[in-house]
């Protein structure tokens, strides 16, 4: 693909640090970088699973670590970009399913918004309720 140039051209130059140089890209880069921090959250989950497998003492130690000031700080550090990521992803992601698939009609944007954010909020609430012991 692409034809040979018939006259010399100036290659499209990209300045160093282009990805943070313009506000157009900054938002997207923050989004991409948020996924890095999100992986910290996954790491915590892995540690939790590992602790669970090692018995109740290890699990209690893990819970204590989560409850420590450092653990709480980590939770907050992970929570903020997670929310940012989720909201942005749902905002642009809602465009994807608006397509006719086979015999299924294309769902409308409004319905998808409600479904997406409803699911996010619903699942979050359920987790909070489960963890807080209100629902056993």
């Amino acid at each position: 693909m692409g034809s040979a140039s018939s006259t010399p051209t100036l290659a499209s130059r990209v300045p160093d640090g282009w990805w943070m140089s313009h506000k157009r890209y900054r938002y997207y880069m923050l989004f991409a970088m948020a996924s890095g921090i999100l992986s910290l959250g996954s790491l915590v989950l892995l540690v939790a699973v590992s602790a669970l497998s090692k018995g109740s003492q290890a699990w209690a130690g893990f819970l204590a670590m989560l409850g420590s000031p450092a653990g709480l700080l980590l939770s907050v550090v992970v929570l903020v970009p997670t929310c940012f990521f989720a909201v942005r992803w749902l905002r642009v992601g809602v465009k994807i399913p608006q397509v006719k698939l086979g015999p299924m009609p294309a769902p409308g944007a409004g319905m998808l918004y409600v479904a997406h954010f409803g699911l996010l909020i619903g699942v979050s609430l359920l987790v909070i309720l489960l963890l807080s012991g209100v629902v056993a």
Binding site: M1, G2, H22, R24, K95, I96, V99, G102
Partner: protein
């Protein structure tokens, strides 16, 4: 009409010939701009009365021919609808990013034209209906399912905005994919299977990281990001044989 005010423009200049060869340079012009001037008016004023050596493309000056896309203060825009009064001064006008520069504000579009053709942007049918039997019926709903993606004016602003294009110049890109998707969605078309290899192939939709920048800058609200990412969904389901390909 109020008196024109003098506005400073910094315009990118490059020529592969003579003294200006090299990396190009920014040249400053002072242009008297009436209140309703668009950037294109200012460029034409420079060309006509200040510096006839400036080269730029333009034609319809009503935002539909797609010729006059440039970087205006760092953002890709149609210069015919970028009002001088709305911009920070000095106004920097450069050639569209992510394209090789031929001269001044003129970029090389040949690779884009090849990409357009690669998605087979025409109605493909197994059996053509004779014209004498009239039109193919298409309900307003069927029309709406692709109409938005048929609005592309090929101005290439989306290529200049797409961060993927910086590292993957062979990515067939937002406009071409949106056009391929437009035909796939058209109830009259049966060419989805023929376009699959290109749209879902090495340089196709999976290069996109969904920055959504193409849709942010699109002057015709085509929303190419929606087309690209819907095609991801559709082609993934087709790859899994959950969904058939039209015309296969």
């Amino acid at each position: 009409m109020s008196e024109p005010r003098i506005v400073k423009f910094e315009v990118f200049r490059y020529s592969p010939e003579g003294a200006e060869t090299g990396e190009g340079k920014w040249q400053t012009y002072e242009v008297p701009c009436p209140d309703d001037y668009v950037v294109l008016d200012a460029l034409n004023h420079i060309k006509d009365y200040i510096d006839p050596t400036l080269s730029h493309r333009w034609s319809c000056r009503m935002g539909v021919c797609g010729s006059c896309g440039m970087m205006v203060n760092g953002t890709p825009n149609l210069t015919c609808k970028s009002f001088v009064r709305d911009l920070e001064h000095p106004i920097r006008v450069g050639p569209l990013a992510n394209f090789p520069v031929v001269r001044d504000l003129v970029v090389e579009l040949e690779s884009f034209m090849d990409k357009l053709k690669s998605v087979k942007p025409w109605i493909i049918r197994k059996v053509e209906k004779d014209v004498k039997y009239g039109e193919y019926l298409q309900t307003p709903d069927e029309l709406d399912s692709y109409r938005q993606f048929s609005m592309c004016i090929n101005c290439c602003l989306c290529y200049a905005a797409c961060p993927v294009m910086i590292n993957e110049p062979d990515f067939i890109g937002p406009a071409a994919i949106a056009l391929g998707f437009r035909y796939n969605q058209d109830s009259r078309d049966e060419g989805e299977a023929e376009r699959y290899a290109v749209l879902a192939g090495e340089h196709g939709v999976w290069n996109c990281s969904y920055a959504n920048e193409c849709s942010e800058v699109c002057p015709k609200h085509v929303d190419p990001a929606a087309a690209v990412n819907r095609e991801k969904l559709v082609s993934a389901l087709q790859w899994l044989h959950i969904l058939p390909k039209k015309g296969a």
